[in-house]
């Protein structure tokens, strides 16, 4: 199965608006004055070298890290200032797949996927069971529903984590390094799944990755973070950036060129 990049609608309204965002740890900024929009239904990829702040930015966007400044509007609501029910309502609209999978180790895969459905819907147990099983089939784990996370491989854990993130069919799915640790076939299938969900259901994806094959397979738009400037080095269609960007670092990144050796 080969994924074809989704055709994100350039005229679609923004579902995520990041304004003057500064993120970092212990008051030390890693990224500053970030401004970008994620459009409804597009697959938006956050790129950058190791240590550029990709995962930190993602944490701030999903409300796990309090930003140093600025705001993150999700479907018009500010994630930074929301609390209580308002925050719960925003979280209901998003699903997150963490880099490590973050499955609950004491629960089987199907119990992991069932959990959000049990907490957020009033469906009967058998109906929740079927939905959860279908999510696991969707990511190729239909024969492992009764396994514990410790009984399956790292790649399978990632797929199960995606199934859990999709349990409630959220409007936005945040995926942190979804392809890392997966074999090329599974990775390609995952890319195809992302594109299919985006096209068929209008799910918006925000993906942190530096897997070039995945980027070209799925991304409608990318931003490239640059740790030297603590900002965005480039933004746009990854194919255009690869072919047309004059920025030497962007060129180096997309063409997998190493740093030149010191003379």
């Amino acid at each position: 199965m080969t994924a074809e990049p989704s055709t994100g609608d350039a005229a679609a309204p923004a579902i995520i608006q990041v304004r003057d965002l500064g993120v970092g740890y212990a008051g030390v900024p890693l990224l500053e004055h970030l401004e970008f929009d994620v459009r409804r239904g597009e697959i938006f990829v956050i790129l950058g070298g190791s240590g550029s702040g990709k995962s930190t930015l993602l944490k701030a966007m999903i409300g796990l890290l309090e930003p140093l400044s600025g705001s993150v509007l999700i479907d018009g609501e500010d994630m930074v200032t929301a609390s209580g029910d308002a925050r719960r309502a925003i979280l209901r609209k998003i699903g997150v797949m963490y880099q490590s999978g973050a499955l609950f180790g004491s629960m089987t895969l199907i119990e992991n996927v069932r959990l959000p459905l049990e907490e957020y819907t009033d469906l009967a147990a058998s109906e929740i069971d079927l939905i959860a099983r279908m999510k696991l089939w969707l990511v190729g784990l239909g024969l492992f529903t009764g396994h514990l996370p410790s009984e399956i491989s790292g790649g399978m854990q990632k797929r199960a984590a995606i199934a859990r993130a999709m349990a409630l069919d959220p409007m936005i799915l945040f995926l942190d390094e979804p392809s890392a640790g997966l074999d090329p076939i599974t990775s390609a299938e995952l890319d195809a799944l992302i594109v299919r969900l985006s096209r068929n259901l209008g799910v918006t994806f925000v993906v942190v990755t530096h897997e070039l094959a995945s980027i070209f397979a799925i991304a409608d738009r990318v931003i490239m973070l640059d740790r030297r400037t603590k900002g965005i080095a480039a933004e746009g269609d990854p194919r255009k950036l690869r072919d047309e960007s004059k920025d030497p670092w962007v060129h180096q990144f997309f063409n997998r060129e190493p740093e030149p050796l010191p003379a």
């Binding site: 609950f104 180790g105 004491s106 089987t108 459905l117 957020y120 819907t121 009033d122 469906l123 009967a124 109906e127 069971d129 079927l130 939905i131 099983r133 279908m134 999510k135 089939w137 969707l138 239909g142 024969l143 492992f144 529903t145 009764g146 396994h147 514990l148 996370p149 410790s150 999709m166 409630l168 069919d169 299919r196 096209r199 068929n200 259901l201």
Partner: protein, 372 residues
């Protein structure tokens, strides 16, 4: 966007028509789902058509509803009509017969006899592991003592600080309270017979021979034994122990030996400290019963001899090996999973305390036989 709805009708040719409409998602379909199932069950022997022409939106939960309706009958009996192509693509991803059935059911529950057998086998395996571990640790400890340069002394001092110095406040508190409580509880009834002076004998003998070594060891089992298990358990889960093994370094020598040496150095010292504080607690309490400190000391000196002191002191070395050994063993036995480290720490404390009490009993018998 409208909520999910269902209209049920029968066509002239006998087919039952279920017309779904509106938005089919996890929050809207509960009522529709139950009604649709009932409608299919009621149409016995007649073909069913699920008409989805008025469905505005259908997410994964909506697709699950349609899959479930198709699976209610044998293949071909329930037809889905007019589903929008974008939702049709989602439905086409599933083999209805496959997803409907649980392909990985939970394992069969064991019967009582089987369970009993499994528990017995588990206990036997654990005993075997403990014996093997004692052998490995003794060999590693023997090697370390004959080759002191091979010991990672920096680790030993670091662990000594955590096991010994950091435990001083809690050992002091518990020993002091133990001395106070025993003295007080005994002095009140003894006073009726004018025999409260003999409470000093009681405290002297019980603290030095039994209570100080045992209580110190139990405290350390809860504190340091659990810490060893958690620390080594985390290393096991993170494959740090595997890394040591593949580097050709023996995990027992590298991780266990420093901890046993540190426990061997610190437990007897803490026991001495507990002896002293426990006696002080007793002396202070008895002072309130008009027994001066000098009388207390004189009385204790008269009843407690060197063999009583050594009876407690020797035990503390054995307790040290048990606490450190069982903590490290449980850490190395840690399996995968988030709860594994917690389980290892719990098992270290439980096994440690059981072993301490059992070995203390064995010491009591030995001392009785040897008339110590």
């Amino acid at each position: 966007m409208t909520a999910a709805d269902l209209a049920i009708s029968d066509s002239p040719d006998g087919r039952r028509i279920l017309s779904l409409s509106g938005r089919l998602d996890a929050t809207t379909i509960r009522r529709v789902w139950a009604e649709a199932r009932n409608a299919i069950a009621a149409a016995i022997g007649r073909p069913v058509v699920v008409d989805a022409s008025k469905v505005d939106y259908c997410d994964g939960a909506g697709i699950a509803l349609i899959v479930d309706l198709i699976a209610q009958r044998k293949p071909g009996d329930v037809q889905v009509a007019n589903l929008a192509p974008r939702f049709e693509t989602m439905l086409a991803q599933f083999d209805v017969r496959e997803v409907e059935r649980d392909q990985d059911p939970p394992p069969r529950r064991r019967g009582t006899v089987e369970e009993l057998g499994a528990i017995t086998a588990g206990v036997a395996r654990d005993l075997y592991d403990q014996v093997a571990f004692i052998g490995e640790s003794t060999a590693a400890l023997g090697y370390a003592l004959t080759h002191p340069a091979s010991i990672r002394w920096r680790d030993v001092w670091r662990i000594c600080e955590r096991v010994g110095a950091d435990a001083l406040p809690i050992v002091a508190l518990i020993s002091f309270l133990l001395g106070v409580i025993i003295a007080f509880q005994s002095a009140v009834p003894m006073r009726r017979f004018g025999a409260e002076i003999f409470v000093a004998d009681l405290i002297g003998l019980s603290m030095l021979r039994e209570l100080a070594p045992l209580m110190t060891a139990i405290l350390l089992a809860g504190r340091s034994g659990a810490a060893f298990a958690a620390e080594i358990g985390t290393m096991t889960v993170n494959q740090e122990v595997d890394a040591l093994t593949t580097m050709g370094l023996d995990p027992v020598r590298f991780l266990v030996t420093p901890r046993i040496i540190a426990a061997l150095l610190m437990t007897p010292l803490l026991t001495l400290f507990a002896d002293l504080i426990g006696l002080a607690g007793g002396a202070i309490t008895l002072a309130s019963f008009s027994i001066p400190y000098v009388t207390f000391v004189h009385e204790v000196e008269g009843i407690v001899d060197y063999s009583d002191f050594m009876a407690g002191f020797v035990k503390s070395f054995v307790f040290a090996i048990l606490i450190a050994g069982i903590g490290c063993l449980r850490g190395l036995q840690t399996t995968a999973g988030a709860s594994a480290v917690g389980d290892a720490a719990t098992r270290a404390v439980v096994s440690g305390i059981v072993l301490l009490v059992a070995v203390d009993g064995i010491f009591a018998v030995i001392y009785y036989v040897l008339d110590i």
